[in-house]
């Protein structure tokens, strides 16, 4: 089972957000998708989920173009979006039941799974509270539960650690590894390079919409003679002199007028 992108591009009114991106994410492997802000990570994720159309190129899952059977593809995909949009008038429990119904899951087993997921993610006590009263981390947990509820083959996680407390972050980190070990295709984007380095076996680094690295972390370390993923990332995708910029900001705010 493989997710494959072949020369995928996306243009927004003159701006080329994603430029001929190609890579493969394989089953049993965790693929980290990295890039600075505005590099096109979330746009790629949205194209894979079918939220937006590609301008050029094709996306394949299990050897078949996803456009051929988008409905069938979505049944096999779980997605945690970057922005935690939910129906805030529903409670966490109601939201997950709705997702279960819309995913054609059998009612009773789905209810049991939802109940267990809510307990494991420490949301059981708040399951009847409206989502509008949930914190960002709690919403993220609901989105994670919704993405995993139907046992997907492909798991797409766009900034999944955003807003999570330390404990849940550690649980998620192990969960990602566990799911990959059980044969799922996992693609996740994050700015937490330390986490990506610990979790991922393979990374794709994006810069200004183009893939600048697509390899295992080990091979990248060897090829670039750099010890950490953060340093590899800085060399490939960070153009600014970070020390100079931080120094200038400090000078600016400390200046007495």
């Amino acid at each position: 089972m493989t997710l494959e992108l072949r020369n995928v591009s996306k243009r927004f009114t003159g701006i080329l957000a994603v430029d001929s991106v190609s890579f493969e994410a394989r089953a049993g492997e965790i693929t980290g998708y990295l890039g600075p802000n505005g590099s096109g990570k979330s746009t790629t994720m949205k194209m894979i989920t079918g939220l937006i159309e590609t301008t050029a190129g094709d996306i394949f899952f299990d050897g078949k173009p996803i456009r051929g059977d988008l409905h069938g593809f979505k049944q096999r995909m779980g997605y945690v979006p970057e922005e935690p949009y939910l129906y805030s008038h529903l409670s966490g429990l109601e939201y997950l039941i709705m997702v279960g119904q819309l995913r054609d899951l059998p009612a009773k087993p789905a209810a049991r799974r939802i109940d267990r997921l809510l307990s494991l993610l420490s949301l059981h006590g708040d399951r009847h509270a409206p989502l509008s009263a949930y914190s960002k981390g709690m919403r993220q947990k609901v989105l994670l539960s919704a993405a995993l509820l139907h046992n997907p083959d492909l798991i797409l996680l766009d900034e999944p650690f955003s807003g999570l407390d330390v404990g849940t972050g550690l649980v998620l980190r192990s969960l990602i590894q566990e799911l990959a070990a059980r044969g799922k295709v996992v693609l996740f984007s994050s700015h937490e390079l330390e986490t990506v380095e610990r979790v991922s076996s393979h990374v794709v680094i994006l810069h200004r919409g183009k893939v600048v690295a697509d390899d295992s972390i080990e091979r990248l370390r060897t090829l670039m003679h750099l010890p950490t993923l953060a340093e590899i990332f800085a060399q490939l995708a960070v153009e600014q002199d970070t020390a100079a910029i931080s120094g200038e900001i400090a000078d600016l705010i400390l200046y007495r007028w």
């Binding site: 049944q75 119904q101 819309l102 054609d104 509008s132």
Partner: protein, 166 residues
């Protein structure tokens, strides 16, 4: 129930709720869909009750002995026009308040697009929810006034005969 109809019902319920999700009401409904629908319905029925009060005054006017047919027709016509205009106004105000909810918004797209849903099911549920909301608004608004006004505007002879039958 088929899978498609179950999905339609789930979406229809969500969309209907969001059409009624007027900020004025949803703040106190605290996420309870049936409570919000109840509040919305009660608001309209109360408006209908207020409108029905006008019928009492009309009964006095049309019930007076010696009222000419022309005067009776004039009162009836103006009252009917008033009722139709007020109903149109209520439907208009409701359409204005719920205009944003009539179409799929960013939230709908982000919540529903990753799910295996057919575009036709989504559109059908949206249209059905909008039609139901307007229908329910007209029904609730005329729930009392629709009964009281025809009784008040009935010709005195008909009123007399109905009293005798009763």
């Amino acid at each position: 129930m088929t899978i498609a109809s179950l999905k339609f019902r789930v979406l229809y319920r969500q969309f209907l709720f969001r059409l009624m999700d007027v900020e004025l009401l949803s703040a106190s409904a605290s996420g309870d869909a049936s409570e919000l629908l109840g509040q919305f319905g009660a608001l309209l029925v109360f408006g209908s009750l207020v409108l029905s009060m006008g019928a009492i005054g009309t009964v006095y006017v049309t019930g007076e002995p010696g009222v000419s047919q022309e005067a009776l027709a004039a009162v009836t016509w103006s009252s009917e026009r008033f009722m139709v205009s007020v109903t149109m106004l209520v439907v208009g105000v409701f359409a204005l308040l719920s205009w944003d909810s009539t179409f799929l918004d960013r939230r709908d797209v982000l919540v529903l697009a990753p799910l295996p849903l057919r575009g036709a099911t989504l559109c059908a549920a949206k249209i059905a929810a909008a039609a139901s909301a307007l229908g329910l608004t007209v029904l609730a608004w005329n729930s009392l006034a629709g009964f009281v006004w025809p009784l008040a505007l009935a010709p005195p002879a008909a009123r007399e005969s109905s009293r005798r039958c009763g």
